[in-house]
Amino acid sequence: MKYIQEYRDPEMARQYAQALARITTREWTLMEVCGGQTHAIMKFGVDQLLPSGVNLLHGPGCPVCVTPLELIDKAIDIASRRDVIFTSFGDMLRVPGSAKDLLSVRAEGGDVRIVYSPMDAVKIARENPTKQVVFFAVGFETTAPANAMAVYQAAQTKVENFSLLVSHVLVPPAVEAILNSPGNRVQAFLAAGHVCAVMGYEEYIPLAAKYRVPFVVTGFEPLDILQGVYMAVKQLEEGRAEVENQYSRAVQRAGNSYAQDFIRHVFQVVPRKWRGIGEIPQSGLGLRPEYAAFDAETRFGVAAQSVPEPAECKSGLVLQGALKPTQCPAFGTRCTPEHPLGATMVSSEGACAAYYRYRRLEKAEA
């Protein structure tokens, strides 16, 4: 299939792996930020093609995993109300709150629906004027433009029964938090291609300079990832710390300015709590005061309750690349996709779920 098959070519993959082995003279630790990349690495076995000196850590770029427990509890509270149609992307539905998940709310009679676009939620609101329609706006910069567009259109066309439960997060502040953490081992980053398709990659330039780490904007197919790793290792070996773009077929330096304008028009940068990591300043998006009427948290008056995570769950360390999923004592025993302790075991993009699904043999053999 065009644009897919050529990026999964085994001969090309072998050649890239050989080229990478030729230039690697010592041990390097890289982090892929995005959960979609983690998933592709595990699914295709990209890490098995890397020379032994190149170590991949998995970053915090799984929107489901970093959405705080309190917010999931708020979603469950809102979705349980009689007059509400609660809409969400599919993989939020199975994430456990402190007592249950959204799928259970649906089984108990709540109207919880999977949508592919926030615009579908606006349409549902238009068609159900007597109901309150809420969209669970999770995600990084990738999903922000469409969510901004949904709010904008709802405002323009006076769809007043529509609102957003916002949990938007931003990549650069999270990357900086990892770089600042005391035990940081990451020497280079594969930046998330889809985030950069929206935002461009200029915001990584000061980070590369300040912390002396290379960034390579990288796509999601196996050959993209191999090439991204190759470019990052080449920089490390040559002592460079620059921002390079592997994913040039989708990403431009300045990104998509039209999409950025929409984000800025509807959202503003706010502090945000990351599940497993804690609050990171200026790391999220919230609705601007002009659009506060569309904020589900105020519309439904759901109170913030701080909920402790299970003590046994080490997802915070996993999300920061400080621990590999298989190094967690609970992995595959007391924590499985059927009985997850934390969100990294739930989401298809979560590192623990990816390891469990594709690699749990390694733990058994280790």
Binding site: G36, I114, E338, R359
Partner: protein
């Protein structure tokens, strides 16, 4: 195969009752007219026409295989099939996977009040055409009507009886190390045909369900003397879940090659857009066959007479026992696991 003529019209006086009423399930005159005018003529055979409370079957030789399955699908009609065709093929295929020759089916309809009579009639006609093409008889049945809003148009249950020839032993317990794993055709069509209709995805030409009866290709293998050790149709959960079930039940290792698994471009494209893995997408006309390695080439050749994309995709080994492993398109390897729940579309 008997072509189904959609130009025929429903023989009930639909000007009188164009929709299913609660009374059609009441046991009274309306129910009897529904049975006499729609169901009996379609499935007509001496056993059903005896109008007994149950079917009395003639003596059969061989071991009996008996299975049941229920069918719920939205939309009721989709590219490549409909709920009636599914209900006949699904149970016939379960019998075929036991190595049985399917003989008799029962059918239970649960109709929702308000269902257009024409829709019910089309479903019944589709079942008739499929049963005739396969050579099974629908010998007993039941109809109930539920209040509007308590059903999804039509639910169908079918049960089936078939006979397994003496000396034929097919099942996970008979899978042996070294067996060849053969896939009867390209995967993922049924699930993506349904998703494409539900989500309003448009491609160049609709994706058609692979819904088809599998008794003929299965018996072609058996009749040709292929040593068939295990068969499994790849319905809910797709190829991946079926193989995991067999690996666990047989305590053998199954190795497959991703590049050998045929997936049509339109199906792959739809899966990429929705974030689905074709290995987990439902099929309604595909099966996996575990056969003796010396018979593999001949088995593939026979199956290609029914579906040109049939091919060997892997083999059975002793270890790691109970696991399915896949060699990826780029040469990495990974475990294949069952999904925890349904496949959910991803965020980004």
């Amino acid at each position: 195969m008997t072509p189904f003529d959609f130009n025929l019209t429903c023989p009930l006086p639909i000007t009188e009752y164009p929709h299913v009423l609660m009374a059609h399930g009441s046991g009274g005159k309306l129910m009897h007219r529904l049975i006499e005018a729609v169901i009996v003529p379609a499935f007509g055979n001496p056993i059903l026409e005896s109008r007994h409370d149950g079917a009395i079957l003639p003596p059969l030789t061989g071991r009996l295989a008996f299975t049941t399955d229920s069918f719920v699908v939205r939309p009721l009609f989709f590219p490549g099939g409909d709920i009636g065709k599914l209900a006949v093929c699904g149970t016939v295929n379960d019998l075929a996977m036991c190595g049985a020759r399917p003989l008799y089916l029962s059918v239970g309809f649960i109709l929702e009040e308000g269902l257009p009579m024409e829709t019910f009639w089309r479903v019944v006609q589709s079942m008739r055409a499929q049963a005739a093409a396969i050579g099974v008889q629908i010998v007993t049945g039941d109809t109930k009507v539920v209040d509007r809003g308590k059903g999804d148009g039509i639910f169908i249950n079918t049960s089936g009886v078939g006979v397994v020839a003496d000396g034929l032993h097919i099942g996970p317990a008979h899978v042996q190390s070294g067996d060849a794993l053969i896939l009867s055709g390209d995967i993922g069509r049924h699930g993506m045909a349904i998703m494409a209709v539900r989500e309003g995805l448009e491609f160049e030409g609709a994706i058609e369900s692979d819904c088809a009866p599998l008794a003929a290709p299965v018996h072609a293998l058996i009749d040709a003397g292929i040593r068939v050790h295990c068969l499994r149709d790849l319905t809910r959960g797709g190829l991946a879940s079926a193989l995991v079930e067999i690996a666990e039940a047989s305590r053998r290792a199954i190795h497959i090659e991703e590049r050998r698994i045929p997936v049509r471009d339109d199906v792959r494209g739809a899966c990429e857009i929705l974030g689905f893995d074709p290995l987990y997408v439902a099929n309604e006309g595909r099966f996996a066959a575990f056969v003796a390695p010396e018979d593999a080439a001949r088995a593939v050749e026979i199956l290609r007479g029914y579906e040109p994309t049939a091919t060997q995709i892997g083999a059975v080994a002793d270890s790691p026992a109970g696991l399915v492993t896949l060699r990826s398109a780029i040469g990495g390897s990974r475990i294949i696991d069952m999904l925890t729940g349904e496949q959910l579309p991803r965020i980004c």
